[in-house]
């Protein structure tokens, strides 16, 4: 164990750890400002904002020898005996001068800049900058040019940290961005005919410490200080990126990646990032309806649970389709509910959308072909309730045989998921209850049409392709007329009070050994469910094994 001294505070550094002085200082609660450094990118040490004074403490005598000049904290390793001083006159003066330098040519158009409010240049100026402008250089040009379909560049706001250039080289591996010209004429640009067009392009906007790179999807939509950022999990594919859902008054304005070293590091793909628009689509289903003869009549949510309860009790053989977009908790409640009405109920996994092949990027990020967030979680729940996993296709075959009389289909797919021919196979049923976000051939056949929630409205847990369970709370309230699936199941199971995903997850963890690791506190980066599989030896999810752990 090594000791690093930051402004007199002692910080511990592990023997195998390779951290720099910025990270060491953060452990002591001391912020060293920086622009160009990013933990996920190579070190260039070019912004010179993080300059500090460093020295070394002699292991025997304890005498401290300082380096007689400023050094970049991002480039200086923090090892045992490293001394870091961040408050000396030289350090403070350098920060103020770098701030002043960066503002020489900056248009200072904060009132019309999307970054205002979360801009490092702004924040550092208040913290480290000078109160008066000493230069008379006229900075007011505001050139803008397009870099690609998703990103636009405000040329004069750039501080040349080169994070975006390094991202395109090291993480996405697509190398579209470059620095053109030299010295104070430097600009970020792309080659003609080679726009910034890759599946991770949106990340450069998050990386930009200032307002130079603008996200066209978000541009001029909302001031950042009006938004609340709710931690969530992306439902776009089975990677399950940790995200922040930025919303104001129940409208989602953008998604941003949330740092998670076990899942997505600092990144997310464009498909996930811009994949929230269905939440506010105009054709979202918001009216619960009941089929009355040939006509559909509006139903009232307050009376629906009793009505459904009565219908399900006398429905006969029941089949339940559980979508991989439902949370673990919802899947568990739905399965439990099905077994309540019909102990022989057939539980099937909803269709798993697959699109193309997994795509791996040079920086280690993977976009999975499986375009749903929770197949693994739903499967694990189903395994607990039935002998074998019933796929959607197998269920259709069983439907054809005519033994099944009623079906509950929980959809929740953001994209069309069922065609006319498949939906026709549900025609023989006496009772078809559909929960979904958008109209579909199945929806048109339903006895009960129950509008369901989107990912931003759900609370619960998803299990990603690597068996990592992440819990999240709802970010926005669903539109009027929509009941979150879990809420309805909770009611139908006759549980008291409000739907409480946390208590359900505790139950799941106690009942199903696969989820045992989620029994305690689930950290913001999630828990690895495989840890317990290894401990159990064979990964069995039989009730007996589950009870043994419970």
């Amino acid at each position: 164990m090594g000791i690093v001294i930051v402004d007199g505070h002692e910080v511990e550094v592990g023997p195998q750890e390779r951290i720099n002085c910025i990270q060491a200082a953060a452990r002591a609660g001391i912020d060293i400002p920086y622009y160009c450094w990013h933990p996920g990118l190579s070190v260039v040490a070019s912004c010179r904002m993080c300059l500090v004074e460093t020295g070394a403490k002699h292991p025997e005598t304890g005498a401290i020898t300082m380096v007689p000049k400023l050094v970049p904290a991002c480039q200086t390793p923090a090892k045992d005996g490293t001394v870091v001083v961040t408050t000396s006159k030289a350090v403070v003066e350098n920060r103020s001068r770098v701030e002043e330098s960066l503002l020489l040519d900056h248009p200072i158009d904060c009132p019309i800049c999307d970054k205002a409010g979360e801009c490092l240049l702004q924040d550092y100026h208040f913290e480290h900058g000078q109160s008066q402008r000493r230069t008379d250089i006229r900075p007011f040009t505001s050139r803008r040019r397009e870099l690609g379909p998703t990103v636009t560049l405000f040329v004069d706001r750039c501080v040349m940290c080169s994070r975006c250039v390094r991202f395109a080289r090291e993480i996405s591996g697509t190398r579209e961005l470059l620095v053109i010209n030299r010295g104070s004429h430097e600009e970020i640009d792309v080659f003609p005919g080679h726009p910034l067009d890759n599946k991770m392009s949106g990340n450069v906007v998050d990386l930009c410490p200032v307002g130079a790179l603008g996200d066209k999807d978000f541009l001029y939509k909302q001031r950042v200080w009006f938004m609340k950022n709710q931690p969530g999990v992306c439902a776009g594919c089975s990677t399950g990126c940790s995200i922040e859902i930025c919303q104001n008054q129940d409208t989602v304005y953008r998604l941003k990646p949330r740092e998670n070293p076990f899942v997505n590091k600092w990144w997310m793909c464009d498909e996930g990032r811009y994949g929230y628009h269905h939440v506010h689509r105009a054709d979202r289903l918001v009216e619960p309806r009941r089929r009355d003869g040939a006509a559909l009549v509006n139903a009232d949510w307050s009376a629906l649970p009793q009505e459904l309860d009565a219908r399900l009790k006398k429905a006969g053989r029941l089949a339940v389709v559980i979508s991989p977009f439902l949370t673990v908790e919802e899947a568990y409640l739905l399965a439990q509910m099905a077994k309540k009405y019909d102990p022989q109920a057939v539980l099937a996994l909803g269709p798993v959308p697959v699109d193309g092949k997994d795509e791996k990027f040079p920086g280690g990020f993977t976009i999975h072909a499986e375009k749903c967030p929770n197949r693994k979680g739903v499967e694990a729940v189903l395994n607990k309730f039935s002998e074998r996993l019933v796929t959607f296709d197998q269920l259709l075959t069983e439907l054809d045989s005519g033994t099944i009389r009623a079906a509950w289909v929980a959809g929740g797919y953001p994209k069309p998921w069922i065609d006319e021919a498949t939906a026709e196979r549900f025609d023989k049923l006496d009772l078809l209850i559909a929960q979904d976000m958008f109209d579909s051939p199945l929806w048109q056949r339903a006895t009960y049409q129950l509008p369901g929630a989107s990912f931003a409205e759900r609370a619960g847990s998803y299990v990603n392709c690597n068996d990592r369970l992440q819990s999240f709370d709802w970010a926005i309230r669903p539109p009027a007329g929509v009941w979150i699936e879990g809420h309805l199941y909770w009611r139908l199971l006759g549980r008291k009070g409000m739907y409480n995903p946390r208590s359900v997850l505790s139950e799941v963890a106690a009942e199903i050994i696969y989820f045992a690791a989620a029994g305690g506190e689930v950290s913001p980066v999630g828990v690895d469910l495989k840890v317990n599989l290894l401990a159990a030896g064979n990964g069995a999810t039989t009730p007996a094994a589950a009870q043994a752990t419970a």
């Binding site: 040490a45 960066l102 007011f140 104070s184």
Partner: protein, 451 residues
């Protein structure tokens, strides 16, 4: 003319001095033959180390010591880069060597590669030297034909390839890691150190970067021995054990307001005044000198009163200059306005700053804008303090940049204003009588005319 017998320039002026035949007729490649036959690589490094040869490129780092930083028993390859990107204004000593005596440079390169066990050498030549390009390439071809390059040189076990690489004309490519980046095909943004090139340089392999004139000195040391080399120049300071001294001959370039501009060979330690009077034939048109640049404009300025400063590696530093640099002396006569001098200097560094580090990129730009405004008659006395603040805060010496370009930009500002402040103040008062005392901050919204 002084009695000193030129060595590095001995062949210059002879007919066909750039050909292998002429070079060998004058005794060329004898040193190389001796080294290959009689000495081990380690002994060759010791020879250069014992000579206390310091790099002629500007920083004056001891060459032999640099070579010892290479990792021992490295599986290779080890690369040698010859820095022929001679882009310091008023410097042309490398050009003379490469145009008129390229084999002297190549011989030194081959010896240096033998010493450092490098099997590949790159000569990074600036674009603006077409004749150098032509003659160096011809010389390399001659060497291959004569088995002075290629496989098993002169029957020894040593093999070497030399590639001549032409840069695209940028000042920053003369910085050793900028040169390496450029050679790799990248933008010449100097690298952060450590790791130093000796550990991880070109293509991430151990690399030595040496100057052209240093190579010529290696040739002469191999041919004439350490004792000859150390008989010339200024011995090391006995009070400072870390001072390697300033030994050997040096090529001085004299330009500016001088009667006989040119490249002259003199022992290190000659004073600026001697150089101007004895070699350069005095200031032109019978005028008096006002100042001189000691070694390329990035080294700062000597005032006329400081002309007795010895131009060795330690001398200019004692009077506030950055160092000896490339030993390119530019004489400035009494008619020149220092405002003009500084404006032009600032323009050069603003143009050449690579733009990687904020303080250099923005500092050089701000300084130029200020000098433009002062020249346009809207200067304020306060601007001089701002210029000095920029000068004092940019560069590797305060630690605010990655490479030394910013130091080079800072020194002329600091020297010109500190040594000629009266002239600057007089200019500002005279050209801006109503506003020279203004000190309040300029509002961002109010636009200063002239920009």
């Amino acid at each position: 003319m002084p009695k000193f017998e030129p060595v590095l320039l001995a062949n210059i002026g002879k007919p066909n001095s750039h050909t292998l035949a002429a070079y060998q007729a004058a005794g060329g490649y004898k040193g190389l033959r001796k080294v290959l036959k009689e000495m081990t690589p380690a002994a060759t490094i010791d020879l250069v180390k014992a000579s206390n040869l310091r790099g002629r490129g500007g920083a004056g780092f001891p060459t032999g010591l640099k070579w010892t930083f290479l990792p021992k028993d490295h599986p290779g390859p080890i690369y040698m880069c010859i820095n022929a990107d001679e882009s310091e204004p008023a410097t042309f000593n490398n050009r003379i060597l490469m145009e008129e005596d390229p084999h002297q440079v190549l011989e030194g390169t081959i010896i240096s590669c033998y010493a450092t066990r490098a099997s590949t050498a790159y000569i990074y030549l600036r674009f603006e030297y077409p004749l150098c390009y032509e003659r160096l390439q011809k010389a390399i071809d001659e060497c291959y034909a004569a088995n002075l390059l290629g496989k098993k040189i002169l029957g020894s076990e040593f093999s070497l390839d030399i590639y001549l690489h032409r840069g695209a004309a940028a000042y920053i490519c003369g910085e050793e890691t900028g040169l390496i980046e450029s050679l790799e095909g990248k933008r010449a943004w100097p690298r952060i150190k450590p790791p130093f090139p000796a550990v991880e340089g070109l293509f991430r392999k151990p690399t030595v970067v040496n100057n052209v004139e240093t190579m010529a000195c290696v040739t002469q040391i191999a041919a004439r021995g350490v004792d000859w080399f150390k008989s010339i120049g200024v011995p090391s300071d006995p009070k400072n054990p870390r001072d390697p001294g300033s030994y050997g001959p040096k090529l001085y370039c004299i330009s500016g307001h001088i009667n006989k501009p040119g490249c002259y060979e003199a022992p290190l330690g000659i004073t600026c005044r001697q150089l101007i009077d004895e070699y350069g034939g005095g200031v032109w048109k019978g005028r008096k000198a006002k100042a001189a640049v000691p070694g390329g404009i990035s080294m700062g300025l000597l005032t006329e009163a400081e002309f007795d400063t010895p131009l060795d590696f330690a001398g200019p530093g004692k009077v506030g200059c950055l160092g000896l640099g490339t030993a390119a002396v530019t004489v400035i006569d009494e008619t020149v306005s220092m405002v003009d001098f500084l404006h032009n200097t600032c323009r050069f560094f603003q143009h050449e700053s690579c733009g990687q580090c904020t303080p250099c990129r923005e500092g050089t730009n701000w300084a130029l804008r200020m000098m433009e405004r002062i020249k346009a008659g809207r200067g304020r006395l306060r601007d001089l303090d701002l210029l000095l603040e920029i000068g004092d805060s940019i560069g590797i010496i305060p630690g605010s940049t990655i490479c030394g370009l910013a130091d080079g930009a800072a020194w002329p500002m600091k020297n010109a204003i500190r040594k000629f402040r009266g002239e600057f103040e007089e200019y500002i008062r005279r050209t801006n009588p109503s506003g020279y005392m203004t000190t309040e901050a300029v509002q961002a919204m109010s636009v200063a005319a002239g920009h």
